[in-house]
């Protein structure tokens, strides 16, 4: 009974929360600082939860107002509108991804030219960051991360691989596969498969590919969306632990996979830092005028079976 009651109260608080946030924003102008983070992720992408928690924590610690916005379907044209809209609401800073330079560079540049400080996070390159006039880039250089992973795999004796890509339309993410192939010293060729977003489809496609290409040494997945079904696929095929399996990003299942030996390593780009650090940088820049002199690489950090404790504890929340 009490638990029911508390659940009820909790959900009431949950419903009320956004409206409370509304009032906070309305009152917050003036002495308070407001930063808006715009991502390219659709609502369904759970990986971005860490980012949401990252800015929320930074906002709390630094006593600034933070907001998270994203295009519901992941349509980048909609994202461009959200950036324009964010600029129109005159925040002190915008933190955004640069998933497609053509589409997003215009709105970002306009925001910069209006005097809004912009930090690029997660997707994009240092060159593009400079070109749109943003302060800095906080993220993982994708090609370099892929390259490092490829070199590591080569040292472990890998000669061929399949790259399971669940975001085929995101050119930046595909760089990870290219870097990996270059690290191995082989041609990417037909090794990258368009897996789609649906878990059972991804699982079936991985199974089909591995059956058709039994000589494949290694699997590279590009995030929890493709890693989770791939774990199931290799378990079902009875090759879990046999096949070399590396993945980008972390999640509950990936951590479990690393623990039981299915996955050799996960590359953590540490999204928490990608959200948390820009807020810290912007707040200190606005308050004291201090700014780090370079881009910040939040990754790659290799997570292996050693030292999983912290990862396990905060997986999905801050890791």
């Amino acid at each position: 009974m009490t638990s029911k009651m508390s659940k009820l109260l909790a959900s009431a608080a949950l419903v009320a929360a956004p409206f409370l946030a509304t009032t906070a924003v309305a009152d917050g102008h003036g002495d308070d600082l407001t930063y808006i983070l715009v991502s390219h992720a659709p609502d369904s992408d759970s990986w971005w939860n860490t980012v949401k928690n990252g800015i929320a924590l930074a906002g709390e610690q630094l006593d600034v107002t933070v907001e998270y916005r994203n295009p519901p379907t992941g349509d980048l044209a909609d994202m461009a509108r959200i950036i324009e809209q964010a600029a129109a609401s005159q925040p002190d800073g915008i933190i955004t991804t640069l998933a497609d330079f053509d589409v997003l560079s215009g709105p970002i540049r306009e925001a910069v030219d209006q005097g809004i400080d912009v930090i690029i996070m997660n997707s994009g390159t240092p060159e593009q960051t400079r070109e749109v006039g943003a302060l800095m880039f906080v993220g993982q250089p994708e090609y370099d991360a892929g390259l490092a992973a490829g070199q590591r795999a080569k040292d472990d004796g890998v000669e061929s691989f399949v790259c399971v890509n669940h975001v085929i339309s995101n050119a930046v993410v595909a760089e990870r596969c290219r870097g990996f192939a270059d690290g191995l010293g082989i041609d990417l060729g037909e090794s990258m498969i368009d897996a789609g977003q649906d878990p059972s489809e991804i699982k079936n496609r991985v199974t089909a590919y591995l059956n058709a290409n039994p000589e494949t040494d290694a699997i590279l997945t590009l995030g929890p969306v493709s890693a989770d079904p791939t774990i199931l696929a290799v378990e079902e095929m009875g090759i879990a632990g046999d096949i070399y399996f590396g993945t980008f990003d972390l999640g509950d299942n990936i951590v479990a996979g690393i623990k039981d030996g299915t996955i050799q390593w996960g590359i953590d780009q540490q999204p928490f830092l990608q959200a948390y650090l820009p807020v810290v940088v912007l707040a200190n820049y606005d308050r004291y005028g201090v700014l780090p002199g370079n881009n910040i690489n939040s990754g790659p950090g290799f997570v292996t079976a050693d030292g999983l404790e912290m990862v396990e504890k905060f997986a999905g929340e801050y890791r």
Binding site: V25, E67, A88, S89, Q114, I168, A171
Partner: protein, 370 residues
Amino acid sequence: MADVSHTDERIKQTSRLRQALIRPELGGIVGTVAVFVFFFLFAHDSGMFNAQGVMNWSVVSAQFMIIAVGACLLMIAGEFDLSVGSMIGFAGMMIAIFGVTYELPMWIAILITFAICIAFGALNGYIVVKTGLPSFIVTLATLFILRGFTIFIPQTLERKTIIGGIREAAEGDWLAAVFGAKIGKPIFQWLGDAGVISTFERGSRIGEPVVDGIPMLIIWALGLVIFGHWLLTRTRFGNWIFASGGDADAARNSGVPVTAVKIKMFMFTAFCATVFAVCQVMEFGSAGADRGLLKEFEAIIAVVIGGALLTGGYGSVIGAALGALIFGVVQQGLFFAGVESSLFRVFLGVILLAAVILNTYIRRIITGER
């Protein structure tokens, strides 16, 4: 006409209020007022009503309007088109393929794209009227077919799913400007200089107003709304649209060419989707395989909020335009108001449900059902 000699005592004299109630635009008008009052109260100091904010939700609403006009006329004619979103992605990709990959002059690329997309619209219509299958299913098939091509073609030709460089390829092209240019720049510059609109503080465009013109997208939206409203209410063809959707057999018996009307409406819907796509690629300079996802539902939602009946035969283009305005203002306004963005869907669902219930009530009044 006024000297009605003896009235049927069972027909109650209806009040003006009740007569106003059965206008299809009613829901749209009430909703628009309510939405603006709401956001004026909760987001008036958030930048939503400065020049840049107004331009932001106007552009988003204009996008919805363009596809809502097509969806509205088609729905009044008694059919649906679920392939609108895929058509947007497909049309954008065709322009990129012809204009960038094959390096054709941009105006030719645009015209070819219009021809291909309208042909797909005609095919949709032809299959629907000839087989008598529900348009729901036929266009669902088209949805997948077009989306598949939109991913397959660029992957085959360019080995990627986003093709950029359209803005550069369209430089100086007259037809591209019809979709991608901005008009009224001197006026906005003057407003910027006068301090009515804020100006850029730094960068290459320092001193220019933050809103430097009205995008052609908005002109197209207004133009299509006016055209659609005129077509529906002022022409013979408009009467045929109502008749085809109200009761196709009765319309046929009265000599209305129902088949032609429906096919033309499918073509018009495809035309609207292509206009949307061309404006989008001209503005952003790239075409992506995932553009336009779920836009078909957004169009239908705008039309339903605007008072059209899902069963056809009744509706209004002005209503659909207001529905699009509500949709756009709510979507962007919730951000301005600082409401958690995932709640947008909740608001949308509530508005949609309210609109459908109101529409059902209106239908009962009109048809005298009890």
